[in-house]
Chain length 615, copies 2
């Protein structure tokens, strides 16, 4: 496995009769290129070159004949440009004709409008076998293989252990469960309608499980909970530090991750009426630290310069390695990471956002303690990570809280005073990240906070906004602004403190430094950006107008700033449901250029430039 190749060139493939044109990295199989663009090509083997159904005709351009092609086509057909799409790798521009499909493909939409053709690695086949006789002494396994002769299978030992009994107890009518080229189970009778997978978004704070019906691509249940590792600290650095200070911490953190994932899996199964052994595959997206902790891989090199991953891709992982109760031979596909601070969550998010495909110049931002930024224009793609610090973590903000009932999530200045939206329409008890950004943005707009980030003198504010000035007071030595009065006589008000403003200022400066340096490397200007995607739960609630106003995102029309939602989870679902998208991740990874900020000499200067709020 070589997971860090050079950046490949791109080639242009036009498909008929759909007349769609795509640009893909050189070397990508035509099958994947078509699939990524919503063009379905027949296949039953999932692109392993064994079913020989993915026949296409190369009308312009050329692709060398592979040995598998010789098994599928006559010499005349080869001369006419017929090739198997799964082994035909585009190395130059092509015009490819795709014959009509014999079966109607299933597709579903994920992430930011990504149309995904369902082609899961898991497939089930019901087979009715003839019983052995003295003149037909084929082995039990061969009897199964012969009914699956479009596949070249390898078999787990456990399957052999019970195969003889299963066949004989079910009158040789069984369902074969195949994942890629592995026969993982032979089940009595016809179980083809029951096939499930789990897609996890393993966040530092929140963990989400999507139980997916693999045959239909629809969710059977969604569950989420806080990561049980939270007592070890709110962010990844705290958890890595724990493993460095205490030899038992890694094992314990791994255990806590497993408990979190397994609790969610069991809840989802219970909710949907699915048995654990009907889950045949698991996909997981998480940042590099969460992934290494969950797999029991020592995370220490992630936490100290020069910030080194054990591997981008952990390729031989079972669901049981993640502590998830599923079919005992269920595999886990862990979305690979680009670097220590651009993890599988971001790669999954970039996939679900179509960052590698969309021809618009787009910026993807996942805001958090570590802020990941991706820029792409359909030709090139670059990523970086900016150390935003704890501003978006509740703990570092005086009245900070997670986005939960009682949290102020929207702040507006209307008619000279504040208008608040509180989650759950309850009395406000704190402020969450989006409320913080809103509050600062509005107070900057109306002049309560000046561009340098200081609270303006109370008397000055009184002249223009007397209601707001009345909210300005002191807590000890520190200036604060009262967002909401106490809910009880002996309670505390919800305030925005001068230090809170500073925290946010530092965070937005780090983030803006990140994207502005990326723009420079990419050779574009701020106003060239055609779309900004705000990823993650924080991005979902953030006001685009406020984000622009404080300079957290480039200054572009607000309508071009889009909440992308939980794209990491969406990417995990795509990986679970489509072998082509799974290959797409590898291609994406080979294309992204990682820009390391921590050794940039211009980082500090740029950071200071970005500290002020835009005027």
């Amino acid at each position: 496995m070589t997971d860090e190749q050079g950046v490949p060139e791109r080639v242009r493939i036009r498909f008929t009769p759909s007349d769609k044109e795509v640009r893909v990295p050189t070397g990508v199989p035509i099958f994947d290129a078509a699939s990524w663009n919503g063009i379905a090509i027949d296949s039953t083997c999932g692109g392993h070159g064994t079913c020989k159904k993915c026949k296409v005709q190369i009308l312009e351009g050329s692709i060398p004949v592979q040995s598998l092609d010789r098994r599928a086509f006559s010499q005349d057909q080869l001369d006419d440009g017929w090739r198997l799409a799964c082994v035909a790798r585009a190395t130059g521009d092509l015009l490819v004709d795709v014959p009509p499909m014999t079966t109607r493909p299933k597709a579903a939409t994920f992430g930011v409008g990504r149309q995904v053709i369902l082609r899961p690695a898991v497939q089930k086949r019901f087979v009715e076998l003839t019983e052995p006789t003295l003149t037909d002494q084929r082995t039990d396994s061969q009897r199964v293989f012969d009914e699956l002769d479009d596949l070249e299978l390898t078999v787990d030992l456990d399957v052999y252990r019970t195969l003889g009994q299963t066949l004989r107890e079910s009158d040789f009518k069984v369902t074969a469960v195949v994942v890629d080229d592995r026969l993982i189970a032979v089940e009595p009778g016809d179980t083809t309608s029951r096939s499930f997978g789990l897609a996890f978004d393993l966040g530092t704070t929140t963990v989400v499980a999507n139980l997916m019906d693999i045959t239909t691509g629809t969710p059977a249940a969604v569950t989420s909970m806080l990561n049980k590792q939270q007592p070890y600290g709110a962010d990844v650095i705290a958890r890595i530090s724990a493993t460095m200070l205490n030899a038992d911490a890694l094992g314990h953190l791994q255990q806590l991750a497993h408990e979190t994932l397994d609790t969610l899996a069991k809840e989802a199964c219970a909710e949907a009426g699915v048995e654990a052994n009907e889950i045949y595959e698991v996909a997981l997206a998480g940042n590099a630290t969460m992934v290494q902790l969950a797999l029991g891989v020592n995370p220490e090199p992630l936490g100290v310069a020069p910030f080194i991953l054990a591997a981008r891709q952990f390729e031989n992982v079972m669901a049981s390695d993640l502590g998830v109760t599923a079919h005992p031979r269920a595999r886990a596909v862990v979305v690979p990471a680009l670097g220590a601070y651009v993890g599988g969550d971001i790669i999954a998010g970039a996939l679900a956002s179509g960052m590698d495909r969309d021809k618009r110049l787009r910026l993807f931002i996942d805001i958090g303690t570590n802020c990941e930024i991706v820029i792409a224009d359909g030709e090139r793609i670059m990523a970086t990570a900016a150390p935003a610090g704890p501003a978006f973590e509740a703990a570092s903000i005086r009245c900070g809280m997670r986005a939960a009932p009682g949290a102020i999530e929207v702040v507006k200045v209307t008619d000279g005073d504040l208008e608040l939206q509180v989650i759950g329409d309850e009395p406000a008890v704190g402020v969450c990240g989006s409320g913080l950004v809103d509050a600062v943005a509005e107070l900057v707009r109306v002049g309560v906070i000046d561009p340098s980030g200081r609270f303006v003198d109370r008397d000055t504010v009184m002249e223009t906004h007397p209601h707001l000035a009345e909210r300005m007071t002191l807590f000890g030595e520190e200036k604060v602004f009262v967002l909401a009065e106490p809910t009880s006589p002996d309670g505390d008000p919800v305030v925005l403190s001068q230090r809170d403003v500073r925290e946010l200022q530092f965070a937005k400066a780090a983030i803006a430094t990140g994207w502005s340096l990326l723009f420079e490397d990419f050779g574009i200007e701020e106003h060239d950006i055609q779309q900004v995607l705000l990823a993650g739960s924080f991005g979902t609630y953030l006001s685009a107008a406020s984000a622009v106003r404080i300079g957290l995102v480039p200054k572009i029309p607000v309508l071009r700033i889009v909440s992308a939602g939980n794209v990491a989870g969406e990417g995990a679902k795509m990986v679970l449901l489509s072998a082509a998208e799974r290959h797409g991740v590898t291609t994406l990874l080979s294309e992204i250029k990682y820009v390391e900020l921590s050794d940039r000499t211009d980082f500090q200067d740029r950071f200071i430039d970005q500290l002020a709020f835009p005027t």
Copy 2:
């Protein structure tokens, strides 16, 4: 995996400059064809198409260009017939030039004069890596891969778990342990001189372990012991029956097999001063029942008609699945079986005897309760199994015993009386299989037993052999012949009974029926056989002359009847030490035609014909 293909055609490959010509099945890689015939071709990846060192030039005949060839050669070189030997599959007659090797190949002799080029699946590489920096953030695993760029590796999760720590604690100087395309370990420092494997011969009665130094191909220690499953019965049918009668028996038999194998492994390690985690691979040859029991695979379908294997090849087996203490990620290669009664032990034996390569017409016989017979002439190969019954098991013979001290192993009539050889030169307490065959053969020769198998009348014998006649007496109603007097006044003599003769007669008739039916299917006569190989421990001690005399083997000159020794164990060693021989097993398996005797209508008639002793 399709393990039961049709019989392939053979093609002729001539190699220059060695000027050796071989005939191999069509589709065999040139690399393997050369290796099987003692012609070494450069390679470091073990034939996986990644090292691109196995360059050969096709001088006559043609082989299509594969995509891997395009990476290794220019168009001019391709036009000149250059190909990679590991991916070039011969489908017609060829003349192939093999360039001189840059390294001198190691080879060793195994089995019946088989010269094996050492090319184990296990390889160790010492690498000195550069340390990561902010400008070189390659992952820890990539850093290792980049030093092994002739291999395309996949990595076990456990390796990733400790990789970071191992690299940093050993100043990034480490030894990579690769088995085929799996990186199974990264060890601190240079451990390249320490690399071991275990080759097991798992017999129903006796189990042998060969601890091999993989780098030199020499044995480090050999240990053997009785199979701990013995309390469940002496033969495979008894053990299969046990699993059918008692639900716990399979688990217990598996446990006993594991204890046997692990005891031998530990003894061998202790003897040779080898650590268990220096054993990186295990090879095992055994009959189908022993293999399925050891792997915990339900053996019931083996024991009842139509006698069905779970699989010919169990492909995903770890040493730990056999209960063997070795490196935790050591794989186990289990030699595949042809049928329920022609197991991996026979396939390993046929490999070590060169049954698929020798151009002479040869017969391979492994005598036991079940007698396996293979016939081959370098073009075709056929096998069958004959139900010999328990004659060669001590328990069914009145004074039978295993070949241990006190057992009569040689019987001769000289100067009118018996001359005995007893194992250990001790007073005789019983007779082992070879002594039984000798005794009957000699008594038939001198007329004490008539061709129909009956003891001749005592008075008639008295006329020609008075000393022998004196040994003829009655035990109750049954005629017996005293081979040795009691060792103590109240002891019993060692006798040959009329029933013993009948048991042997039935056994030899079954065996002779087996080979005579094979001869018929093969289209040859008994006297055409150029060599008989007697395999297994019984074959080692059996007198060729006696075997011919009672009709156990075809009537050919005694010098052409050869003891092959423990060829199953030798085959296991070859599989352990050579990837090419390992592929050779698969080819061998696809070539052997299995002849089932139990549904032959002519079996009974032929059996009755064979009951009489030759005159």
